[in-house]
Symmetry: C2
Subunit: 231 residues, 2 copies
Amino acid sequence: MGFTYDYEMPSVAVDCVIFGLDLDDNTLKVVLVERGLEPFAGKWAIPGGFVRKGESLDEAAMRELREETGIDEVFLEQLYTFGGPGRDPRGWVISVAYYALVSPDKHSIVAATDARRAQWFPANRLPRLAFDHTSILEVALERLRGKLTYAPIGFELLPEKFTIKQLQRLYEIVLGRTLDNRNFRKKIFSMNVLRELDEMQQGVPHRAARLYKFDVRKYKQLTSRGMSFEL
Amino acid sequence: MGFTYDYEMPSVAVDCVIFGLDLDDNTLKVVLVERGLEPFAGKWAIPGGFVRKGESLDEAAMRELREETGIDEVFLEQLYTFGGPGRDPRGWVISVAYYALVSPDKHSIVAATDARRAQWFPANRLPRLAFDHTSILEVALERLRGKLTYAPIGFELLPEKFTIKQLQRLYEIVLGRTLDNRNFRKKIFSMNVLRELDEMQQGVPHRAARLYKFDVRKYKQLTSRGMSFEL
DNA sequence: CCAAAAGTGTTGGGACTACACCCATGA
DNA sequence: TCATGGGTGTAGTCCCAACACTTTTGG
């Protein structure tokens, strides 16, 4: 311990809610890992682990994400810190929760890194979870829904190149209501944050849709002019 | 320590940004305390202290608030957790930051509880602060500004009974721009969350303004109908 | 040629902005 | 009576929601 301090000290963990979008069955998914050890052995939980001395909380979250799921270089943001007494039967554990958004390109990594049995679950049909992880997930979902409408984070859940319809579906899935496609297109085009590509969607049994990319540069110009991204 | 754990453990503190509104000089203020001990002895800092075993983070924040400023029963919300290595020269300290909103009725308490010299400072003209408290304050201000426009938290900064003009000034001060009084009134009345009182403002050298109260009941009806509070 | 999804405009209503004057009160 | 802030209405504009058909492509 680095200095004199009279009180007992807690362990500090990071836990990470990992969101992914399944474009095949149009659902929002979450990565859970099966616990090998007590307490809650055999139960599903959000991936996480203890913070190490010398690393920041963000670094700890990134490290856990990488170690437990193989995922790297994704959107990762601090969510909330859970510290109630009794949330961990082993003792006093404070957990800094994060949430990550993973594009479908990287979903396969999760399945492959099977050391501790990581799996995708539909976000609205989850098993009973270890610890207070159900509450953490609720908070994460609320945050995702809220932030989606005023920040351009939805793109993190899509492949780099996507169609407008995919973007629209993403909003519909997360917000839980249908959107009018004409109005949605008008809105998204009017804020001018997409770059139109010369490529078309491939391998669909009907008219192919145009592909777009999120244009970070345009977005930064937008925000620097004081404009904001709104649904 | 309650269970076997191989890594070194951090101390966990709560720090609390306390906002108050000064209706005399129309500024947003923040409570700072002067540090008595090293490190940063003599510097100003956000009130805070270590979390104790057996209490939740919210409880710890409330306790610190009460101990250091005498303030009790106010709006208090978790803000963000700061955990970078090197943020405290004494060693590894993770700090869960909170922010509180205090009505002018209670401002005097702060001055009275002078044990550790607590003082109000204008939020936009602060001294150099201890630790990383300047960044914590920036995050807190951003959050306050953001949340003010979509949640009815502004009332927490006003006395129980207030005039529409005071409410408007609050928004102008925090958001940093002037608002049209006619439009502001229309907007605030149209959402129907205020109860008009039979009382008038007292002791002003001009026409007295009507007093209003925030009506929690009406607000709950509003949100339960799916409507939301927007600026 | 058929099935399936892509892509495209217009209109009406509600909300926001901009703007200026009279009213009530205490000194 | 005057100085000071309280309180009020309207018109133009913009944004949003509602709504249905034609186009393109692969099978």
